[in-house]
């Protein structure tokens, strides 16, 4: 395998040097393309107070293709399924090489703040979110308390 592209090195260095508030991304010791990510639940969201673990993997083609990101912590979110897969446009077709790890993670944090039940991945959650947002938010808080607190 060829060495780590310069861009990844740079990004990693920068992530370590200037971490994004509420987000930490640490490269795996064995694999510099694999990051252990922890995202704090954004304030004012039902995920507030939760600490969500994610994994992020930079594929070979990165930055020409999007990183693969997945929630490790269970989360009650219409755009995140039970397996932690995330429905986020920039991780799919809207990926741009101009985006970076940090921007991706920021987007994910933003996604937590603003769920988008219209483009659901977890249909039941999205349904509930659309039908009974209060109920859904309560569930989300519940889940957060259950799975995303004290788990680190």
């Amino acid at each position: 395998m060829a060495g780590l592209p310069r861009r990844i090195i740079k990004e990693t260095q920068r992530l370590m040097a200037e971490p994004v508030p509420g987000i930490s991304a640490v490269p795996d010791e064995q694999n510099a393309r694999y990051f252990h990510v922890v995202v704090a639940g954004p304030e004012g969201s039902p995920f507030e107070g939760g600490v969500f673990k994610l994994e992020l993997f930079l594929p070979e083609e990165y930055p020409m293709s999007a990183p693969k990101v997945r929630f490790m912590t269970k989360i009650y979110h219409p755009n995140i399924d039970k397996l932690g897969r995330i429905c986020l446009d920039i991780l799919k077709d809207k990926w741009s090489p101009a985006l970076q790890i940090r921007t991706v993670l920021l987007s994910i944090q933003a996604l937590l703040s603003a769920p988008n039940p219209d483009d659901p991945l977890a249909n039941d959650v999205a349904e509930l979110w659309k039908v009974n947002e209060v109920e859904a938010i309560r569930n989300a808080r519940e889940w957060t308390r259950t799975y995303a607190m004290g788990n680190i």
């Binding site: 930055p63 741009s96 101009a98």
Partner: protein, 1319 residues
Amino acid sequence: MEQFDQLLTCCVCLDRYRNPKLLPCQHSFCMEPCMEGLINYVTRQVKCPECRAEHRIPYQGIAAYPTNVTLQRFLELHIEITGELPDPTSGQIMERCGVCSEKNYCTLCCHCDKKVCSDCKEGHLDILRREIARVNNQVRRTLPRLQDALGVIDKNSTQLQTNCLSIIEEVDGLYRRLSKALKDRTDHIKGEIEAFMSKELKAMTGLRANLEHEISNFDSNSEFAEKHVTAGTGGTEGGSSVSSSSASTVAWDDNELMDTKDIFLRTMEFIRNFETETGDYHRRVRFFVPQDPNQLSNTLANLGELTILQGPSSSSGQGPPTAPSLGPGLMRSKSDHRVAAAFRQQEERYNSMAYGSDNNDDIGGGSSGRPRYFGERHGSVSTRAIDRYDTSSSRRNDYGDYEEPDSGRRKFRSRFMRHHDSGDSDNEPAGRSVRFQAGDAGDPSANKKERLKVLDTEDAARGPLSGITRLTDSPRVIKRLQEVGRKKKATPPTTLNLPTPATNQQSLSSPSSRIPPRPTAAARQVSEEDEIAKIKKQNKGQEASSSSDSARKTDATPSTPTGAGERPRFSSQQSSNSSEQQQGSKNPAASRQTSTTGSEASQKTPAESSSSSGATPTNETPEEARTRRRSLLAGGSKSGTSTPNDTESESRQKDRTAVASTAAAAAAASNGTAATGAAPHRFQSRFLGRAGTPTAEASRGSENSQSSSSDDSSDSAQARDTSTYPSSSSSTNHTGSSSGNSRPTSSDSPSSYTPRSRANASAAATPSSSSSRPYSSSSRFGTTDSSTTGSALSRSRTGSALADDMENKYPGYQSRFLNKSKSSAALDCAPDGGNEVANDDDEEDAMDDNDDDYNKSGRSRYAALKDRRSRLARSKSSHDVGPPAPLSPTGPSSSSSSQLTGGDGVAGGRASDPHYHQHGQLGGEVGDTGTSSLEPTSPSAESASGSSLSTWARYLKNKYGPRNKEGDGQPPSATTNSDSTTTAGGGKQAQPTSSRFSRARSIGVSGNNAANGRRNSEDVTGPPPSGLITSSSRHQYMQKRKVLMKMGTRGSEAGAFTWPRGVAVAPDNSIVVADSSNHRVQVFDSTGKFLKEFGYYGNGEGEFDCLAGVAINRIGQYIIADRYNHRIQVFDPSGRFLRVFGSQGTTDGKFSYPWGVTTDALGFIYVCDKENHRVQVFQSDGTFVGKFGTMGNRPGQLEHPHYIAVSSTNRVIVSDSNNHRIQVFDVNGKVIASFGGEGADEGQFKFPRGVAVDDQGYIVVADSGNNRIQVFTADGVFVKAFGCWGSGDGEFKGLEGIAVMSNGNIVCADRENHRIQVF
């Protein structure tokens, strides 16, 4: 500022913009790889990462997007402001890596000759490092070869010196001889003249006296007549006065007057007739020289010629030494030249097959057109060096003689010289420049297109032979080391594999305190500066004149890279690499440039095109150059061709080593299989198998009898024994009868003797044991002079445990011998087992006591022993002898005989050591081999006898052991001895078959006589039948001079020789010749008819390299001293390879030019380890047994011992060549005698070489320097010398080996005449 920075950063690669391309959306991205990555090849669109706008890609590709010039200016501005260094990759274009096919900034990798990315390159560097390590290992492993060569050279130099010295000696000797001859002749002629003169004078004076006498007679007569006769008449007839005066006149009667008249008439007649035969006394002596003295002096003036020996068998078959005055080197080079010529064609073919470049040619056709200089060089360092050396060493064999290893060296040298001399001897710049142009490739460090020999250095630092530099001498290396040192100081190394010049610079400029070597660094710095200064000077010179350029070229290192100047100025110059190196590192940008203008540079083409376009010029010019070089140096005839064949030769070498290893393994295997005991056993059985011939049988019989005197057939032994009894007429009779009887029996029924002997032994138990006790001691005595009774017994014990002994090496060896002798003494029946073991302790004690005594009073003790013994025996014999005269070897008779033999054995032992020696030896032989065969027949008897023996022996020892020391009673034995010999002789003679060994026995007797100084004994025995053998030898030798037979001329066909050296005579009297420079062994029958040959040149099994000594052991195996292979080879009687042992070295069992070789009756192999100045002894299976001799000229020391012989009495005779003497050792290496000194007189030697000893102990010496053969008695008393320098019959040129046939004929190798002569 940070934002400004950000603005200059490409958002895709997060790096500074490189070649920013502006999209229609006004966003800019680096063209590579960022923009390229954005391409959607399906839609041929680019999606802006920033705004996601999609843009059609222009037809020409993304490169057609406008470059964002503004951004670029900003970038430049930014660089200027911040002082940031430019991106090293700026201006480069990304390419696909030739290995991983990723797009990257690629550089040319010198390893694979592809453009590769830095990652792959790193991998390749790793590979290179590993390869270097591997090759380095190989180098290390193979380095000993060079060291060996060094040793060889040393040896050869000493050899050369000795050779030259010996030649000088020879010349001196010749001079002395000639002058002596001249002087002798002069004296002789003078003497003759004087004799003649005195004779003539005497005759003259006689004549004169006679004449005077006559005259006085006549005078008185006339006076008388006048007075008394005529006066009377006159008076009567006439004169008165007269008559008066003649008153006294006698009256003569007629008779008287008639007589008087008659007298006067006769006087008258005499006077008239007398003619002074003055002629007689005028005889003049004239000195007449049949030959023209001028011619003679001419001959003398041109006498002798130095020929440098050259092997005739050289593959090219050419080049007899033409000019003697030329050094060997020159001649060799000549021949090499020829070989080179032969190879040239082939090589040219190779070239026509288009080796892309000279470089390739060197490599041997590796990757076509792929320059691989660096790696290649390393590879060549090891493999080439080895190959060359190897080939040279193989070639070495082509040269027959002394100088050949030297030749190897020379060739080696010249070969190498050829390569790195190219710069020196090559006056054609084109060849060089072309070569390098072709070979050039990118420089790893600086992205140069042309490859530099970065590690080259000044010529001075090169190895003189290989042209290989010491890496640490290379300025480049020094610099790099220095850098590393500094870097270590500065920062923890960031593992830059190929630190770019820039980083180098940086690291250089940022020193820190961590790493010490300040002083060295400084020193390096200095040297570096020196280098720079030098370079500058060179540059100046360069610029100044082109002539200096050419000059530079000539002394430049051969491998100076021509092209690849960093600056135009340099490019034209053939500067040393180091300079370029430094320049290169300083001007990285410039170094990237390919070679430019310049005188030589014009011939260079860019490296890229080198493989194709460069090929043509390269091929031709270097080729020419090389051939020329070759012809000049002529060293590498083979090497020259082998450049392409390098790999081939390497593989060859591998094969060879493989063969060697297998050979070694085989040898080991054979060693392993051949148990110590087995060898002798086989020996025996073989002999028996052969026994079909009467001789063989007889010999076997004699052996047996010898060993076990119980054997009836061994009449002689018995006879000898009996004879020892002084008193016993009866005993003698008995012996005589027994011998006579037994003889026929033995011959009739040889097969039956073993059992018989067994029976004898058992029956003889008591008496024999008694006898055996002393006997054994005596035998022991015989074999090892210093040993005593105790030791004898112990010996026997050891004998039983032969195998064990062998482990003890030397002691074992000795013990073996001893035990053998003992066993023989003990009549074989003397069961090795019982008594010996029982007596062990006692014996050992005794041994200790006696050891010292022996030397002083050994003899007397012996005598005493014998006395006692004989007394015992006598008493016994008187009883037993009478009746038995045993035809049938049954109980009593046999016992008597055995007893007798025992007694005789003792007597003999007392009589003379040699006798005993022989006795013991022979017996030992049989005992060794024979015990096994004997034992089965009557184990019980044996055991019985054994026990009885042991007790008896003990008793004897207790009783007599101490008294032995008193030792007197010698005298009476003397006469008896002689008698005994006679009888023995008679008995022997009666024996129909004249087997060698029976004869040997008899000779032993006579030998002992001789040893006793009673030579008359021979005379006593002399009369025909009995004395025939014993006494004849002396007569025979005295009469030697005439050539009986000669064979061979120079040549390599069958029956011809080239420098024959060792000769040997097989038991069947066939003559074996070491045809040294034909690398083969030839075998002739006793009449000189060619029988067979075997061996070829080489170092494998059954191959020789200038073999020297040959020997045949008793079972007909050939033992060959393979001189230049430093080993001994053994072949079976049919010439098939059996085993090999030894290698070059100085430790036990290793050789340095083994020369003479011989074997004794027991099969031990004695080798003259010439250059180690020692003799080594081995078992027949090659197991090292012992050694003796060191370099020196004192007794027991040796200097270049050449040949060796072992007598039947186990005396080891060594020609101590450079000490001009013959030394005689016992089997343990103790000096027994030494005789001869440098000189040409009788009994003196000049570089004696071959030695031989006949059955009676007469020693025949090939007095090489005096070109004569001398014969000595066993004591070294001169008997006869014959032969002189020349090529006629009976003349010699450089005697080598010598051997004596069983009939007393002397076989000698007349080396320079390439023939064998028999006298």
